[in-house]
């Protein structure tokens, strides 16, 4: 073994507390500043949480789409926000859950990386996760709390999966199953796609590890297959039960929307502005490591499964830049968004990054350390600051006065819709009791006027071209049916439509930047009967099992891993001689 590797493998890993403190140092101030409130989806999650706060066992929410079921979205992070909001309030409750997810990611990346690389490299990978561009992008620009909280839970489950399938330890089976279930309760898409990008490489690693191990420690392929099938069956059953109302809603009301354009499906070369937004910012300096990842992952057999997992996630994450995403996902390509695949790709790349960092520092000492820290800082910095350069909403304005207006003089006896509010409709929905026919959760809506036209939220109708305007006109035409009397307008370009459709301005707020239009003769809003309204028993299930799975996950993970662990660390890497290639040519 060459001197470099001996040094690299024998040096101590960074202490986990140091890495967690680094995460706190970087992200705690940003979260205390409530930076995510400027993101796309944060207020959406806070809105769902505010419903759970008041109706824990009733997922039917009448504030959007004249009534929709929140059982169409896995509830775990939002339920935790609701619980913490009793002490911290909704917004700080959100920040607390996000902080926990960031810390959990550090642990998850470390434990997942141990499967592939040395503890020291794994610790560098965990440190890198603090500065990951895609993590900062999803936390501070996209506000995708579900994705950023499901991934850490999932990563923490994978080592137990390895341990169960490789060594057949029942305790590992139990931990893996519960953690996978909790991950699904946080975000079902992470589990569905994560199985392909994360779990398959881990299982491949088990097969490779089993074959190359000495005779007494090897495991027959039959046992590997049986254990794999076993845990897949158990986890599938658990997820089916824990998210039963979700699957029932999905089966009865499959998402049959007309596809809505999303920039993450653009070609990042033909549309460079989206390439910057969905590739350069999320990957950041990691782009420089891609050649190393491909080379080292190829020449080192043990890392090949991880490399292939990264490669597929990388290609799908490129959206419309390659035909791969469209081929693999089919019709789903037009429904889901691609930035989460880039996120998963960067997580899969972290073990390689840790390995590269360890070898560079071992070889070049301080210069390497300084360069790596500068690259990490810029990557994290741009990810965090991106919401300033490309804000979710071109304008920042307050909706509190609009909510106060709706809450007084019986205005909330009627329904309302906003125009030009962007994603502030979530915050408005938190602050008012009035019901709207609009919303930001396209998969949960059933109003025919919205589902038949390829448009997102009505408040941004004009950005969806003719389809968007058709949806808006259809809803305004049926205003009487929905008791839709108020239109809160922040974008005067819609005024001609309202004028000719029979609305009249009746009030204005925020120095005339918000004008409230009203229509005469609209009867008070009545509940719109919907077959999607979940029965009471589903509400009970929804309020107990998902949250319960997370409590169970916390308890289970606290149980020590048992006697076997001292003999052979679950990461087979330590014993494995590292084939030193030329680190950086």
């Amino acid at each position: 073994m060459k001197p470099i590797d001996r040094a690299a493998s024998s040096a101590q890993p960074l202490p986990m507390p140091l890495i967690l403190l680094t995460a706190l140092a970087v992200h705690l101030p940003l979260l205390l500043m409530k930076l995510p409130l400027k993101s796309y989806d944060t207020n959406f999650h806070i809105f769902f949480a505010s419903h759970y706060l008041h109706h824990w066992f009733n997922p039917w929410n009448s504030k959007w789409y004249a009534g929709f079921s929140q059982a169409t979205y896995p509830p775990l992070p939002q339920q935790w926000i609701a619980v913490l909001s009793h002490v911290l309030g909704l917004e700080m409750g959100y920040m607390a859950v996000q902080m926990a997810a960031i810390l959990l990611l550090v642990v998850g990346v470390y434990r997942f990386s141990l499967l592939w690389v040395s503890p020291r490299a794994a610790s560098f990978a965990a440190l890198a996760s603090v500065f990951l561009g895609s993590e900062s992008f999803l936390v501070y620009s996209a506000g995708q709390l579900a994705t950023t909280s499901a991934a850490p839970i999932y990563l923490n489950a994978l080592p137990y999966l390895f341990e169960w399938v490789r060594y057949g330890r029942p305790r590992a089976f139990l931990k893996a199953a519960i953690l996978f279930t909790a991950a699904a309760a946080a975000h079902h898409a992470t589990l569905l796609f994560g199985s392909f990008f994360f779990a398959v490489p881990v299982l491949a690693l088990v097969v490779m590890d089993a074959r190359s191990a000495s005779s007494e420690k090897s495991t027959g392929m039959g046992a590997v297959a049986a254990r794999t099938i076993g845990i897949v069956v158990v986890v599938s059953a658990a997820i089916a039960l824990v998210l039963l109302p979700f699957w029932i809603a999905l089966i009865h009301y499959p998402v049959t929307q007309t596809p809505i354009p999303h920039a993450s499906r653009a070609n990042y070369i033909l549309s460079p502005q989206w390439g910057l937004n969905y590739f350069v910012i999320p990957y950041g300096a990691l782009i420089l490591a891609i050649p190393f990842i491909i080379w080292r992952g190829s020449i080192q057999p043990r890392l090949r499964p991880l490399l292939l997992g990264f490669w597929f996630a990388f290609l799908v994450g490129l959206g419309g830049t390659t035909p791969v995403a469209h081929l693999l996902l089919g019709r789903a390509f037009e429904v889901i968004t691609m930035e989460r695949f880039s996120y998963w790709a960067t997580l899969l790349a972290l073990p390689f990054v840790g390995l590269l960092a360890a070898e560079l520092i071992a070889r070049f000492r301080t210069p390497a350390l300084i360069s790596l820290m500068v690259l990490a800082a810029f990557t994290c910095g741009f990810g965090v600051a991106w919401s300033t350069y490309r804000p979710a909403d071109a304008e920042s304005f307050r909706v509190d006065s609009a909510a106060a207006w709706l809450n007084r003089d019986g205005h909330d006896r009627y329904r309302y819709v906003t125009l030009g509010f962007g994603n502030k409709i979530s915050r408005l929905a938190v602050l008012t009791d009035a019901s709207s026919v609009d919303g930001e959760w396209n998969s949960g809506r059933l109003l025919p006027e919205l589902t038949q036209n390829g448009a997102g939220a009505l408040t941004s109708s004009k950005y969806f071209g003719a389809g968007g305007m058709k949806a808006l006109r259809a809803i305004l035409r049926h205003a009487d049916h929905y008791g839709l009397k108020w239109v809160l307008v922040h974008d005067p370009s819609y005024d001609p439509l309202l004028t000719f459709a029979g609305w009249r301005p009746v009030d204005d707020l925020e120095d005339r930047t918000i004008v409230i239009w009203s229509k005469d003769g609209v009867p008070p809003a009545q509940p719109i009967p919907s077959p999607q309204k979940p029965p009471h028993w589903q509400g009970i299930l929804w309020g107990t099992l998902p949250f319960g799975s997370s409590l169970l996950a916390i308890l289970i993970v606290l149980i020590p891993d048992g006697r076997h662990d001292e003999e052979d660390d679950s990461s087979g890497a330590v014993g494995q001689p590292l084939v030193a290639g030329t680190v950086l040519s």
Binding site: A266, I294, D409, M469, L472, P496, L497, T499
Partner: protein, 375 residues
């Protein structure tokens, strides 16, 4: 080691290959966000040049579009921009280009004529802007000469506006029973005629404001079965002129998609009126109204704004009558350019072919919209 290196090369090559395929043959989403054209489009033929100009307009890449024009010396980029998006705030200002079509008209080796149809989507509906482009060959590329439509300059003048304006002091939110009140304006449906069309039942009618105060009006209709149970309820939405001055009449059209007149026993009409602040200005003269027969039946004419204020959007609604004076159809059109004072703006309202022969006269009204903050 060799197998690893091979794997690395294969993965790298595949990555580059996929990116190349995805960029040269972008899928629908990629094309949508890239402005509808891949890198392949070039101005090698008249149609390709016109299509390239269309996609640059769609992307609102005004400088790139202007720089590609052959006759750009005759006008500035600002004039080119305003010719497309309107010189004053109008429906064009916020319109988005939904799609465009290119129709070759005539071509020789050195020049060609192509018709470019730009289909715009606005908040009140769509409109098509047709431009007949003349193209000239310049080496291996074709260059477009843009047919600029200049806006007529209104001579500087002072126009006295002293028409009436009404303002209303509304009752408070308290109980209104048995106290002094000013009730809603008295309006009356003077004509109502349900017809069966392919798309469903349509109710045609006219509403008079017989009061001495301006009225906000709309009409709601409920189709009822023979036993009185309601079948469907719809409103006039934007197929009516909502503000009526005293003694003014508006047509209204209420459509009931997918309904059949045979199922209808009775129709309950609900005219809704409310007191509103209104101004008796602007006065719009509808000149040179002419009915055109088949094969392309339509009503044409031009609007002239007789007041001193700019009208940002005008909505033209026409009642078509048969020989006996009964209303047989109602159609409408929005002007996509602002109405400047004393500047005629043409309009054209298509008429359904199956009704064209039965139409003998018409009556047109105009509703107007002036942008917020313009007093």
């Amino acid at each position: 080691m060799k197998r690893g290196a091979l794997l690395a090369l294969v993965l790298a090559a595949l990555t580059v290959l996929f990116i190349a395929i995805g960029t040269l043959h972008p899928n629908a989403s990629a094309r949508f966000f890239a402005g509808g054209e891949g890198l392949l489009s070039s101005a090698s033929t008249p149609e390709a040049a016109a299509r390239k100009l269309g996609s640059e307009i769609e992307l609102r890449a005004w400088q790139r579009a202007y720089n590609s024009l052959g006759n750009k010396a005759q006008f500035t980029e600002q004039e080119f921009f305003h010719d497309i998006t309107g010189y004053h705030e109008s429906l064009r200002t916020y319109a988005t280009l939904e799609s465009y079509e290119v129709f070759p008209q005539h071509a020789t080796a050195s020049d060609a004529d192509v018709q470019l149809q730009l289909h715009w989507s606005t908040v009140v509906g769509s409109f098509t802007d047709t431009r007949n482009l003349h193209l000239v060959r310049n080496g291996d590329r074709w260059v477009v000469d843009w047919p600029l439509v200049r806006s007529k300059v209104v001579p500087p003048q002072v126009i006295a506006v002293n028409y009436l304006r009404w303002d209303v002091i509304y009752r408070g939110a308290g109980d209104d029973w048995g106290i002094q009140d000013v009730e809603a304006p008295h309006v009356r449906i003077v004509d109502m005629h349900p017809v069966q069309r392919a798309a469903g039942v349509v109710i045609l009618g006219e509403l008079l404001n017989e009061d001495i105060v301006p009225a906000y009006v709309s009409v709601r209709a409920t189709l009822q079965k023979k036993d009185g149970t309601p079948i469907a309820s719809e409103g006039s939405f934007d197929k009516i002129s909502h503000i009526l001055l005293p003694k003014q009449v508006t047509p209204f059209l209420i459509s009931f998609p997918n309904q059949t007149l045979a199922d209808v026993g009775s129709i309950r009409m609900e005219p809704i009126s409310a007191l509103v602040s209104a101004s008796a200005d602007p006065v719009i003269e509808i000149q040179n109204q002419q009915l055109h027969p088949i094969p392309d039946p339509a009503l044409t004419g031009q609007l002239e704004n007789q007041s001193g204020q700019i009208v940002n959007v005008a909505h033209i609604i026409t009642s078509f009558y048969n020989q006996t004076g009964q209303v047989v159809w109602i159609a409408d059109q929005y002007t996509n350019r602002a109405l400047m004072p004393q500047t005629p703006v043409p309009f054209r309202i298509p008429i359904p072919e199956d009704l064209a022969h039965s139409i003998s006269s018409e009556r047109t009204v105009v509703a107007t919209y002036r942008a917020r903050g313009v007093e």
